[in-house]
Subunit: 404 residues, 2 copies
């Protein structure tokens, strides 16, 4: 059976990043840059005041005390007109350009203005060159690289792009993701289950997981375990970039999903992965005539299995589609808070509680009633990883975890 790492590898080889498209910075948050950017100007473009106060020659105020003649007032957005000589100063606002001859700013709080004499009395500590100002191009020179291809655009990157002359950027879009829950035992959440039935909790859960990746969920409701109904729903779902089927992929006799996908022209990439929960995972691709393939995941119907498979495999595929340079889940280490015991011949991905205390992270695997126990995952904020085999893990041991 395929290992988790082999499954990741096949997903990354199969899923092509979306074609880059141009977007404004208002539409680019949490996208990944498809091309690097350079600055079209010096940052700052001029010697810039960082405080409201008086622009001075630092040589005039070396001991922090001076009385200087006021030449003009320089507002942010305006241009100084008078070059300072020794004994002269100009009042200046935060963000405004320093006049020629000035090399420092004294904060307004340390200045006493004499309107009649058009002078200012400065009383502060020693003023060194560069005080309260940012020299031209000290942050970045025109032509210098700002952000590299593959950078995830957070608020600060978006601000830096705006500042450096990239009002639009090349990024890759997030995919549309259709959700199709299958199974005769399912009823909608607003219905009361008859004997033998359960509510379709996976659809809304997957919907939220998709939103969490910034992709666009397209819920298709419930497909019955009946070929014609399933077929028409699958056809609808295959129009999206991704189709997630929930249920219908294990060894049960009515698990029609793999055969119906094959009928629809979907090529299976893998079926069954060596992990617990989530073994029945199915993955395939449909090459479409428009050139953009559809990627199909058959997720196990048990809610905890479905959730784990999404966070591991579907999220990786979506991140690959969006152009993330490291699409796999980011694993960290944490110390086990309690003893833990594993059994069986598959690696365990156990819902767990990760906590940070005083610079150390600890993890407590959660006791669950099995992979149908969605309620236990409500306490989880992470998944703890344990290798194959019957093993006893002592509290204090470091184990791998990833956040979910």
């Amino acid at each position: 059976m395929l290992s988790v790492q082999e499954a990741f590898q096949l997903i990354l080889e199969t899923v092509k990043p979306a074609s880059p498209e141009q977007r404004t910075l208002f539409e680019a948050w949490h996208c990944v840059l498809a091309e690097g950017t350079v600055s079209d100007l010096n940052i700052p473009p001029f010697d810039k005041a960082l405080m409201d106060g008086f622009a001075v020659k630092s040589s005039d105020c070396q001991n922090g005390k001076a009385t200087l003649q006021i030449q003009e007032i320089i507002y942010a957005g305006s241009v100084p007109t008078i070059s300072l000589q020794s004994g002269q100063t100009s009042q200046i606002m935060t963000g405004a350009p320093l006049p020629e001859g000035a090399d420092a700013v004294v904060q307004i709080e340390h200045c006493q203005i004499d309107d009649a004499a058009r002078s200012v009395k400065i009383d502060t500590g020693p003023v060194s060159p560069g005080k309260n100002m940012l020299p031209q191009s000290s942050v970045l020179e025109a032509g210098a690289p700002v952000l590299a291809a593959g950078t995830l655009l957070r608020p600060q990157e978006i601000g830096a792009l705006a500042e450096t002359g990239s009002p639009t950027v090349k990024v890759r879009r997030a995919p549309t993701v259709a959700i199709l829950a299958t199974g005769d035992e399912l009823v909608a959440p607003e219905e009361s289950p008859e004997p033998g039935q359960i509510r379709n909790s996976n659809e809304v859960m997957l919907h939220a997981q998709i939103l969490q990746t910034d992709a666009k969920p397209q819920p298709l409701g419930i497909a019955r375990d009946e070929r014609n109904h399933l077929r028409s729903k699958i056809q609808e779902g295959l129009k999206s970039d991704f189709l997630l089927l929930s249920g219908g992929v294990s060894a049960g006799e009515r698990d029609l999903v793999p055969s119906e996908l094959e009928q629809a022209g979907v090529k299976q990439v893998f079926h069954m992965v060596n992990l617990k929960p989530g073994k029945p995972l199915w993955f395939g691709i449909l090459e479409r005539s428009d050139g953009d393939p559809c990627y199909i995941f058959g997720l196990p119907g048990n809610p905890v299995s479905s959730m784990v498979c999404f966070e591991l495999f579907v999220r990786t595929a979506i991140r690959q589609f969006m152009g993330f340079p490291s699409p796999r889940p980011q694993v960290q280490q944490a110390r086990l808070k309690n003893d833990y015991h594993t059994s069986g011949n598959r690696p365990t991905y156990q819902p767990a509680r990760l906590e940070w205390e005083a610079g150390e992270s600890t993890v407590s695997p959660l006791i669950t009633m099995g992979s149908a126990d969605l309620n236990s995952t409500v306490k989880a904020n992470a998944v703890a990883l344990f290798p194959t085999g019957n093993q006893h893990y002592q509290a204090g041991l470091k184990v791998d975890v990833f956040l979910w």
Copy 2:
């Protein structure tokens, strides 16, 4: 001057959580529950098979070997019709209800079916009662609480709500947040700055920060440092739940924002907070005739100050509006990776890089060229907190940090 903690306190006393509203689970992701929920049914509602295989009496297979007579096939969603006697079994699919008399499931992989004899030969390990099945109501009993008021709805909570009969929930909406950048020195990101001008990077950055909180940004462009223009833009912004003004709140002579807000009927709650960067922060409230107030923040114009003030104060206010039980930034501890020196009479909130290595978190404060140096924040994923005063901090010391 107000301390950071006093400013938090005033924000939390001023901002009222939004009125609860009913939403479907498709619209409730990342909202906070305004009312607790209870389950309307037992989870699971019946003894449920966790594997495809054969439902058995464990007493028939104590040593793992048995040949049993097949009674019927039970699919998920159907109801068993035959009660098992000793020596009998029914084939069963994952998710289906166990027949009366059965107390365990043997996986299909360990079963050999003899179609002619309508029997199955089981060859597996010892079968204990409860094997591969989840007993009725073992996860949750009907009437038991599922989620408490104040719970943030992640995918797993949404799934649990669907399962337990809460297809709609009472949650508090995210606010609309208008953004108004002020200053004659500003030009739009798509323009080339003339001498003395800079690009308006704060608007798109705040836009992205707002999206990151799930609130709805409403960018209003640039207001000139001219009373009539500023006034009409402010009137437009005061229709939103929040109005963020960028720039125009420090001690500069053209800082018209506080006086124009007062003219518009906005009551100042505080101005100036004892932190670096971000001291000029302004906060107020407008009581409107419709009963829903508008909350107004005047943010410093320097991009790094603006970013820090948003993450500390605006985010706290938005989380309070959305009903988060702990709206303040969540502080963790991390070890300093390098020596660090602070100076001045205000606590420092320094952009920093937080890293997790082998279960320990370390933090490196970033060298910046001051609060206009947006480029340095591109390397940051956190803010490190240092108390007031000229202090030397040695590498290895634990300091407070929060993620941004």
